[in-house]
């Protein structure tokens, strides 16, 4: 109501009173109250010469125009008039507001002023106009393309005197061409043009004229450039070296990205780059606000993890300060762990022990874990074990708990320390240990070293007496296994407790606990010596614990240096939706890959899994696509697609895990499972003679995740290159056509992509009556009429039959 009155009284007001009213309206808008009701009054008042008033009005109009398209029409008039004002500032502002209206049916009024703006004599107006084109494109792409704005932008980009105009043109063009590339050949070519030598050098030579933010954008572009030879690489790096000393951290980081990307293939230079960028990075960390240092630290963290030895002499930089927020300390701890080597382990561990006594409990826990990790890295274990055992004597619950878990891991790796450890662990009263993980660790040690610990059976017995009070199933499971081990070593003392434990276990409401108790019970009844072999097999020391993050993932994050991926420590496909990835990645995808969602949904219901899962699968192949397209970009006519790289990229990281003990176990729970698997019963291979005529299941189902997993695990059973008949190839206008054809022959596609002449498909098929799956990677080059096949199969013996079938189906494609 009040607003209505304000609006009414507006018309005759002088500028001063108007200004107060406007201010009030805008402040309401700012708080979030809807003041769109006074739209028409506001617009009427906008005919003023007062620039502040104008600005407030622009702001208001920009905010509400989208929801009031009819009223927005009223504003067009005065905005268009302002676009012709003699003051360039007003011209610019009006143009910016005009472009920010974002009302689709008003675009026709935009084209004229924008065109004039691009040709304006004043750089401020051109600057606004060049971004305005991008805004127009997002409202109506066709209008923007029809008016031929991209070409004008290109001309400006390459010729304008003002660096900011050039930079704005670049951002607009990158996005427009990136999005257009999927539909238009020309746009794709233009996009390539941005990465051509001439353009890149043009930007590099002008880099000092750009504002710091524009420099970031240019550097981002340069990072994608692939120089032709090493001289060129050095030229670029020499030119950019002084950017490393820029006051703006964003510029420094963008430069670092360029350096790292350029030298990826030159191992020794890459090392030197690390040396060179170390100092600027460390300075960036110590200056600036905690927020900035966090972002830099995340990147430093990535580099440290890739090349710890280079940073090993700078370990003191990763010491934590008392006042730092926990997220910073945690990163630092991880880096300290990574850089530990023979020469600095002592200092680092001493420092970490200081944190363990820290008031901050999460911090204390993390530092103890860090000590443990260093110990597992095999440096100077002797001293570290002593330190860990000292922790146990500190009599702080969280410290004890954390340490127990670590001691257990240590013992699995260095059984030779058992004597020292057991002596200390034996002194810990189980009553002081409450956390399930720690309790489980303690119980595991009691079971494993029952013969060395005098009172192990009695401690276990007292624990079993309190079975009902034990809430964690994990602890109860461990208790069962431990008492079994103990029984097998010291039967007379343990028999009673074992009975009680089995009884309690059988009565347990938790399924796993119940099953394990039952299993043990029957095992013992069957044969004690078999039980011995199951529960207590001879163990080999674990040499390497499973890495939590595969090296493939790490490499991917590294490729995405200077992006959010680094901060989240996940590659972008794991956390962004496809449509929300950066403008560049976004366009690559549209250009190269499209999963055929509707098709998949029609035929393969199981593919209706989470979008994310699809992404996961796609992205791995996508990366290949991108790699491939970079390599092939200059020579699309002679693409020898290096399919073997795919296999390399997908090599599972299990190599890291010592497979002495069957599953890669690093938690107590799975450890107990080891014991079970330790039995080592050979799984009898099902003797199926290769059937002559292979029958495929027409309704085969496989979700992308399991496809990916299988693809990783299975070896390549057959790999060959075949020729296709030209008729078939000519029918291959888009990947979808082939998919339908293959589906008709019970071969399903799980992912496809590519653009003529290169297409890539992943197929799978299942045997008619058994769950035996075949996986196929098929790369088709339509120009050469060639296809490369890579087949993997659950049942290797039938590969040949399947391969023949697949080829014959493929060759039928395109025939009438």
């Amino acid at each position: 109501m009040q607003l209505r009155q304000l609006a009414g009284s507006r018309a005759p007001g002088t500028d001063d009173s108007k200004r107060e009213l406007f201010k009030k309206v805008i402040s309401y808008m700012t708080i979030g109250i809807d003041v769109s009701a006074v739209f028409s009054e506001m617009v009427m008042c906008s005919a003023t010469s007062d620039i502040v008033l104008k600005k407030m009005c622009y702001l208001y109009v920009g905010n509400y125009a989208k929801n009031n398209p009819d009223l927005a029409l009223l504003t067009i008039n005065f905005l268009q008039r302002d676009c012709k004002d003699e003051d360039p500032m007003i011209r610019g502002l009006a143009l910016r507001s005009l472009c920010s209206l974002r009302v689709a049916n008003l675009v026709e009024y935009l084209v004229g002023p924008l065109g004039n703006g691009l040709k304006d004599g004043n750089s401020y107006v051109r600057m606004v106009a060049s971004i305005g084109v991008l805004k127009l494109y997002h409202i109506s792409a066709s209008t923007c393309m029809d008016a031929d704005f991209p070409a004008m932008l290109k001309h400006l980009m390459l010729n304008d005197k003002d660096a900011q105009v050039v930079a704005n043109c670049l951002t607009s063009l990158q996005e427009i061409w990136g999005l257009e590339a999927s539909t238009s050949e020309e746009a794709a070519r233009e996009r390539e043009m941005l990465l051509s030598k001439a353009v890149i050098y043009y930007f590099l030579n002008r880099i000092k004229e750009f504002s710091e933010w524009a420099q970031c954008i240019v550097l981002e572009l340069v990072a994608k450039y692939v120089p032709s030879d090493s001289n060129e690489i050095f030229d670029v790096m020499n030119l950019l070296e002084d950017r490393l000393q820029h006051a703006n951290g964003a510029v420094v980081l963008a430069t670092i990205k360029v350096f790292l990307q350029l030298t990826l293939s030159m191992t020794d230079v890459h090392q030197q780059v690390y040396e060179r960028i170390k100092s600027p990075l460390l300075t960036l960390v110590s200056s600036g606000s905690p927020e900035q240092s966090y972002a830099v630290l995340s990147h430093l963290h990535l580099l440290v993890m890739r090349a710890p030895f280079i940073f090993s002499s700078d370990y003191k930089h990763f010491y934590c300060q008392y006042n730092e927020p926990f997220y910073v300390k945690k990163l630092k701890l991880e880096m300290l762990t990574a850089v530990a080597n023979e020469s600095n382990t002592y200092d680092i561990v001493t420092e970490l022990c200081e944190y363990a006594a820290n008031v901050d409990i999460p911090m204390a826990r993390e530092s103890i874990r860090a000590v443990g990790k260093i110990a597992l890295q095999q440096y100077d274990v002797n001293a570290i074990v002593d330190r860990l055992l000292q922790f146990l004597e500190m009599e702080k619950e969280h410290v004890t708990a954390e340490t127990l878990v670590l001691v257990k891991d240590l013992l699995r790796k260095y059984p030779q320390w058992s004597h020292d450890c057991i002596a200390v662990v034996g002194n810990i009263s189980s009553k002081n240990v409450q956390e399930p993980k720690a309790k489980a660790a303690l119980i595991w040690m009691l079971g494993e070293y029952a013969q060395d610990m005098q009172d192990a059976p009695y401690i276990l017995e007292s624990l079993i007496e309190n079975w009902d009070e034990e809430h964690s199933a994990e602890v109860r499971l461990h208790l069962l296994t431990a008492i079994m081990k103990c029984f097998l070593r010291r039967p007379p003392e343990t028999q009673k407790a074992l009975g009680a434990a089995l009884a309690a276990g059988l009565a347990d409401f938790h399924q796993d606990v119940h099953d394990r108790a039952l299993f043990y019970y029957r095992l013992l009844k069957y044969d004690v010596s078999v039980a011995e072999r199951v529960v207590n097999p001879p163990k080999q020391a674990v040499s390497v614990f499973a890495d939590t993050q595969s090296s493939e993932v790490k490499d991917r994050i590294f490729d995405e240096f200077n992006s959010l991926s680094v901060v989240y420590q996940k590659p972008s496909y794991m956390f962004t939706d496809k449509e929300h990835r950066g403008p560049f990645a976004f366009s690559e995808e549209l250009g190269n890959l499209s999963i055929d969602t509707d098709l998949a949904n029609d035929v393969v219901p199981a593919q209706r899994v989470e979008e994310n899962d699809k992404d996961l699968l796609l992205s791995t192949s996508e990366k290949e696509e991108n790699h491939g397209s970079i390599n092939n970009s200059s020579a699309y006519d002679a693409p020898s697609y290096d399919g073997s790289r795919m296999v390399g990229a997908l090599q599972p990281q299990q190599d890291l895990v010592s497979l002495d003990q069957p599953p890669p176990a690093n938690t107590p729970a799975s450890l107990a499972m080891d014991d079970l698997f330790g039995l080592g019963l050979p799984v009898a291979p099902s003797p199926t003679p290769p059937p002559l005529a292979l029958k495929l299941n027409a309704k085969a189902v496989l979700d992308p995740n399991s496809f990916q997993q299988k693809w990783r695990q299975l070896p390549v059973a057959a790999s060959q290159e075949i020729s296709l008949n030209p008729q078939g190839v000519s029918a291959l206008s888009s990947p979808q056509v082939l998919l339908r054809h293959m589906q008709g022959h019970s071969i399903q596609c799980i992912a496809s992509g590519g653009q003529a002449p290169n297409f890539k498909f992943f197929f799978f098929a299942q045997k008619e009556d058994e769950p035996s799956t075949y996986l196929v990677e098929c790369v088709i080059n339509s120009a050469a009429c060639k296809a490369q096949l890579k087949i993997k199969a659950d049942d290797q013996s039938t590969t040949q039959a399947f391969s023949t079938l697949f080829q014959s189906v493929l060759s039928e494609f395109g025939l009438p």
């Binding site: 407030m56 900011q164 460390l282 200056s287 008392y322 008031v359 995405e560 959010l564 990835r581």
Partner: protein, 415 residues
């Protein structure tokens, strides 16, 4: 590419919202964000880059005001954070300082500034000198001026000349009645000292701050007596990097007003100016504490504003502390602060007392970290010395001033 910027007050209220792209970010994201902050207890503890269900959020907190930016696309996180920090700097420069009332009173200016600083999600310029030419700061001078001239606009009606000039950080036709330039060396000492007195880490982060009021287009050359001690340096864009690489000489055309010419690091210092020796011993439920403070390495100038601060461990029920010099305060959050000021000539300051532990606890099992602060005027502890400052291209002889200051940064003593 940022999609939206919000300014939140320290109670989580949205003070300002600036949509940057066609994709409108709903305000409800702020409510989500604030819930996160509350669940974390303190806004400073929240990671600066977080993912909400719909957006990626960047936050920078300055003086209780949260600058929150949202995006849905991949972008360099440092760019976003650095930009938000600059926004905060520019705003506090324009408004004199930062607080809720100032922003609410001047929101029109804030909008105007944001308009020029970022367009369609891409940062344009954050250089205060350029911005000041486009949008006049709301200071008293301009108010007086507006009354006199009757022109109430706080927007300068000329476009910044600098955008077209070859020195983007400076406009060409500056005139000052008194030509003067001040160069300050400001250093912060970061140190960690272990309970046995060993120096774990000691380094200096320093800045060369220049305040220049010079007419015309002056060309300055600044050289150091001992540039070799610097481990790494970063420069304001005005510094020409060639002369630095060749001869370690800073050659530059300064922006007008205050700016940070250079920042540097000096590693591996061997000693600290003062020592702080805490001793704690405890048995049967009580803990005796004594802290000694004294000068270890006389810097030649007086050390003042010395304070020692530490957090009493949670297991301590009560504490009775007194000092022979200065005052001891224990705050409600168990922070104990001992302000010493200057160290007297005749005695070494010491603080002593007893603390009662939680019942059931015999001995103290967590040890506090003592944070020390001090200030030394007139000395740059890294040893960096300015050799000379030459000015060329000036109509009259300017006044040159040099100062140095060292203060404690993160100076910690463990017990």
């Amino acid at each position: 590419m940022l999609q939206c910027i919000f300014l939140l007050s320290d109670s989580g209220e949205v003070m300002l919202e600036k949509q940057l792209t066609g994709h409108r970010v709903d305000r409800s994201i702020c409510a989500w964000f604030w819930d996160q902050i509350i669940s974390q207890g303190d806004s400073l503890k929240l990671v600066p880059v977080i993912a909400s269900p719909t957006h990626y959020l960047f936050q920078v907190v300055r003086e209780g005001i949260t600058f929150l930016a949202c995006t849905q696309v991949e972008m360099p996180p440092l760019m976003a954070i650095e930009f938000l920090s600059r926004v905060a700097d520019v705003l506090s420069d324009y408004l004199g300082s930062l607080n809720e009332d100032l922003i609410k009173d001047n929101f029109v200016i804030v909008y105007e500034l944001l308009d020029e600083m970022i367009d369609n999600g891409f940062p344009l310029t954050t250089e205060p000198n350029i911005l000041r030419e486009m949008i006049a700061p709301p200071n008293i001078v301009s108010k007086v001026l507006s009354v006199v001239t009757g022109n109430v606009s706080n927007v300068s009606n000329t476009l910044p000349g600098a955008t077209a000039s070859c020195v983007p950080w400076r406009k060409t036709d500056l005139k000052h009645t008194s030509n003067e330039v001040y160069v300050d060396l400001v250093e912060e000492m970061d140190a960690i000292i272990n309970r046995d007195g060993t120096l774990v880490k000691c380094e200096i982060y320093g800045e060369v701050q220049v305040n220049s009021h010079l007419s015309g287009l002056p060309d300055l050359t600044l050289s150091f007596a001992n540039p070799s001690i610097l481990n790494d340096a970063r420069f304001h864009p005005c510094v020409r990097l060639r002369p630095w690489e060749a001869n370690q000489i800073l050659s530059f055309v300064p922006p007008d007003g205050e700016f940070k010419l250079m920042s540097y690091r000096v590693k591996k210092l061997k000693s600290t100016p003062i020592y702080v020796k805490p001793q704690l011993s405890s048995d049967s439920g009580t803990c005796r504490i004594s802290v000694l403070v004294g000068i270890r390495n006389d810097p030649g100038k007086s050390i003042d504003s010395i304070t020692v601060q530490f957090q009493l461990p949670p297991c301590i029920l009560s504490a009775d502390l007194s000092a022979n010099h200065g005052t001891v305060n224990i705050l409600a959050d168990k922070t104990c602060s001992w302000s010493i000021g200057r160290i007297p000539k005749d005695k070494a300051p010491s603080m002593a007392g007893t603390m009662t532990l939680e019942t059931g606890l015999e001995r103290l099992n967590v040890f506090p970290t003592f944070q020390v602060s001090f200030r030394i005027m007139g000395v740059a502890l890294s040893g960096l010395q300015i050799d000379k400052l030459d000015l060329k291209n000036l109509p009259s002889r300017p006044y040159k001033g040099f100062r140095a200051l060292t203060r404690a940064g993160e100076f910690e003593v463990r017990s």
